[in-house]
Symmetry: D2
Subunit: 356 residues, 4 copies
């Protein structure tokens, strides 16, 4: 591959939560694949989780580079690829799937039935990811971005794709509806912006930190509810005339949040789960059943919603810039994660730039 | 009204769980209403619940006749009604709704936003029901039945309508799919029959009583799983190649059943809740989210599925006769409920015939 | 009714296309109804059509006042109405339906099976409409508007409701998609604005008049195609990489437009018909079938989309002001229609203000 | 490949409508592929069309073997394949798609955007098909059949898959509905059987030949309408109380059938197009729009409906045996097509058995 170095720098997971930047061979793209030169790769809570406790199907310590939220330029084309050309600016989605189980065949590749086996592929989870100078992606997971969209913003588009997948899952049509969002983390903040962008009547954002809530207020939320000061269920019911919100998005992952979500949902309304509690939680199914409520989940960013996301960035309908708060070179990847996890200095999303 | 007696016999709820058969004035139909002469009215778990603890909007003790599952002949027509004629054989659905909230306006009348107020109406819940010689129904809740469908069977069609509403809620298309049902009560048994009738590949029925399971085996279930003998999650996963069921219907109302349902659901699969646990239950939302599973509920029998149900009885596609195990005259309504609740003599559904 | 005059001025249809302003009795609201004092009523192509050739179920000449797009203040409440209070500012939708056929029961009231019979009601079509000082509406067809939304704009919300009903019919989720619109009439122009507001990637607007196209360019369309200068099929295919638009909205009613729409639709794409050709037209069903395309229609503004529309006006997400080009008092209603029909002075939507 | 002969017999298309049985090299499966020993391959109208006028992307004369409806035994496995084992009895679907365009990625592989290019693959259309002793299939297009399903019946499952794809496209839930079918060809006859199997209230079958209509009457249709004797629109409207059918399936391909379909469709009803007219046809879009009707198409057998189809054959829910009227050895493939096209001796579906 002309102009591609034989080796590159990559952050390799050497043990639980232990990232080390090492010199490794530059990978080569096969058929239907492209080699990407990574421009920006964002830290995600999923990275933190899988670095601590490896996921099913994850390569062993010493052989795995995480990172599934990245933007890049196309560096080389594998066989048969004419969908891209070298130099194209692109963003990615994580899940390729296996392209051969019933779910993947029918477009539900984030629910691949071969997850955790060698047939499955998700960059940064079961294959190497973007905390490296180069990475190989199947073309189904690569999407061109507009010239004016910067790489830092573009590396967050997986988050937008996940939120959009959630919206599509619950129907995608929220015009004139009341939307309540619990948890002003990255997905919650983006959900507020998306809800407003798609014409929601009123967007309620529930959280505990004033700084995060205010960021939500700046980017789409109409009504901020700090649970240290107000009862979110009481507020949403009162301000919707006792009816509740048409759509409630729970993105905090907190143990009691699903119950709160149920209580503030309108009869016939929907709950979308973006935050994941790691232990079983109590749910009031009687309330759900007596009022015909439903609960929907998404994993990752399905149904090509990353492609929809890059379009929304290109038209300026959605901006992810407000959420990129910090940037580090690849050598400081561990510091990047520390900043992200501890929310140092108001960190929301933290990116690493492997080729700077 | 020619030929209609001024007074009639009706079972009136005089106190908690206290039904008394009394002579009361025969009601008169208003515009858009018909007077029905009740032929068969079935005992339902909901009756038992609301007789013990009155529901929101239920008339006071001494003024209320329960019963929402009945078949009848049309005895008189209210103003403007030309959709029926006197003598028509009919079955009913319980929920009229209010015809003026947003949910009712859009066809979601079982999730009426005025539930519990005088604007709302559900016969046998917030208006008088069918444990009486006559009852008045809005024509939207009345459906003609074929000549060869007997009244006892027809009085169970609300159950079928509820199950069908559940199937429509989760898409209504189960051809070639694996369907697992927890709880061989009336709704569970009917679900098994419906799943098989609509082309499910394999229907698993999970329960604890051999007699009920066997009834399910006679009417649609392919694989009976007695949880005293086998682990239902293990069986369903093994017999679906480790993948799980496309659709899991939980109709037992048992506390741990929702968790069992989650575990046996395929990635991207759906859970339909027909049984209602009366206290909050633990749910593994991490499993649901990581595998893109969703949870759907129905209340009652919406979207005119009772009309679909009477068609299925008329064509013989579905038979409810196997579930009608006992019949009593109105004077023995309390004995009917005792038989139903205690499952005396293998009771499944018990009907009362007020005009015999 | 306190403060309501016994008689009022109303435009009565005296013969084909003959409107005459007369003094008639002020109507009185019944149960579930409100009396509205009309503030603005817009001329619509449907009015023109039904004044020339009365629709099925339309009252006879001499007894009928047309007008189905209006805004008003609530002047009096019928029995049982507590959803509104006198003085509320409101907009309306035309179709009540019959509230008793299967379609209405299930929320599909614009496809009422009793259309044309006395059971059905659509203000301005089968019941008196808004070209009068007062009109009576069932509360299901009345929606409150925000204080800052002016009456002229609000009287156009039926158009927005129709467009939104169309979007909901085809899924309602156009984020990142290519949308092509044929015909820059009121519905076409609003469609362009809505498509862009909901995040369409690129909106193509096809027409023949530069002035109309430019209005579309000002309010959402990205690419204007004047068919006197360019071949719209060729442009859309070229600019979508040979694939076609995900959604094509035909709102011109022109004879050859459906064929054009088919040709510019992507495989698996959808065509939404908002313009109605009055004679059978040729369609290439082979193209549709070989490429899995579908054709969707809407009549009027269903599924409470007028409520969604008033929300979008209230939040400022959509503005209908650019389309209100002319205003007349009730006495000049005929002149208003002439201006509308002949597009005098660049007329797009023309309103009549009966109480000015 | 052990036990696989180096050469095999195959019917090669040598010129327009000219099939010749020749000895050619046996193909070899690549990764994700299996080699199939064809047991039965059915003649289809699409074969007739593409043999006369080659489709886009079809291999040149002298190099192409048609046939896309076949059943087989697995003869050899390509690399990585553990989903099948040698000897498995299977049926196939035709369209693999390209696995790399947006439509294929999202499961809409029958509307592949690369159709006609080398990236696309549909056996028997753009790659070699089943009128040969062996054929290679991607595993996504291969489905195991139950032991008791015979190969002749199984080779028709593509037709069933197409019909099921149509049903899924229009919602898949026809319980209690009226379904009218125009054209008692193979797809129309199967549609009647499927509609009845899924619980349709009444199935109307419209045709011109008594023998075909009677076959429909034997396998699901309730009401046979011979257009030489009755007006189908008049019959369907009269027998549905003036309302029309909920679902109308046009499978005749006749020029005036789409117009007939529109007229007999209920307001809010759906039309499914399975028959393809090869020239533009007149359609009454005013009727469609005024009554909210929609038109849906399918191409081939998408969304894994062939897998659903093999399940329905396995459970005995659907039988395709009544439609297999003739069988020929591979050497008589031309006679098989003649029998099929001229409907000699009441032919419905004619199969060829290459290994007999």
């Amino acid at each position: 591959m002309t102009g591609i170095p034989e080796t590159m720098k990559a952050a390799v997971l050497m043990g639980p939560s232990q990232l080390e930047v090492k010199e490794v061979p530059t990978p080569r793209p096969g058929p239907m694949e492209v080699l990407l030169k990574v421009q920006s790769c964002a830290c995600c809570g999923t990275d933190v989780a899988l670095m601590e406790n490896p996921f099913e199907g994850q390569p062993p310590f010493g052989e795995f580079t995480p990172g599934h939220e990245y933007s890049a330029t196309v560096a080389a084309l594998g066989e048969t690829v004419d969908e891209f050309k070298v130099g194209d600016r692109v963003a990615v989605e994580a899940h390729l799937g296996c392209m051969r189980c019933r779910n993947c065949r029918n477009g539900n590749y984030t629910a691949c039935l071969n997850y955790g086996t060698p047939k499955h592929r998700a960059n940064g989870m079961t294959a190497n990811g973007g905390f490296a100078q180069y990475v190989v992606n199947n073309i189904n997971t690569v999407h061109p971005i507009a010239d004016h969209v910067d790489f830092e913003e573009a590396s967050l588009v997986t988050n937008l794709g996940c939120v959009l997948y959630g919206f599509e899952t619950v129907g995608g049509y929220v015009a004139g509806e009341h939307v309540a969002i619990i948890g002003p983390g990255p997905l919650g903040l983006i959900s507020a912006q998306v809800a407003k962008a798609f014409g929601a009547d009123r967007v309620y954002l529930v959280g505990t930190r004033a700084s995060r809530l205010n960021k939500g207020g700046d980017t789409g939320a109409d009504r901020l509810i700090n649970i240290h000061e107000e009862d979110p269920v009481e507020v949403v019911l009162r301000e919707t005339g006792g009816i509740g919100a048409d759509l409630v998005i729970e993105s905090s992952g907190a143990k009691d949040a699903p119950m709160t979500a149920i209580k503030m949902t309108k009869p016939m309304g929907k709950i979308l789960l973006l935050g994941i509690p790691h232990e079983p939680v109590l749910m009031d199914l009687e309330d759900m059943a007596m009022k015909n409520k439903s609960l929907h989940t998404v994993r990752g960013e399905g149904w090509s919603n990353v492609a929809r996301g890059v379009s929304l960035l290109g038209t300026g309908k959605i901006s992810l810039k407000p959420y990129v708060t910090h940037s580090f070179p690849l050598d400081e990847v561990s510091k990047a994660f520390e900043t992200f996890v501890k929310r140092i200095d108001g960190a929301v999303k933290v990116v690493v730039k492997p080729n700077d």
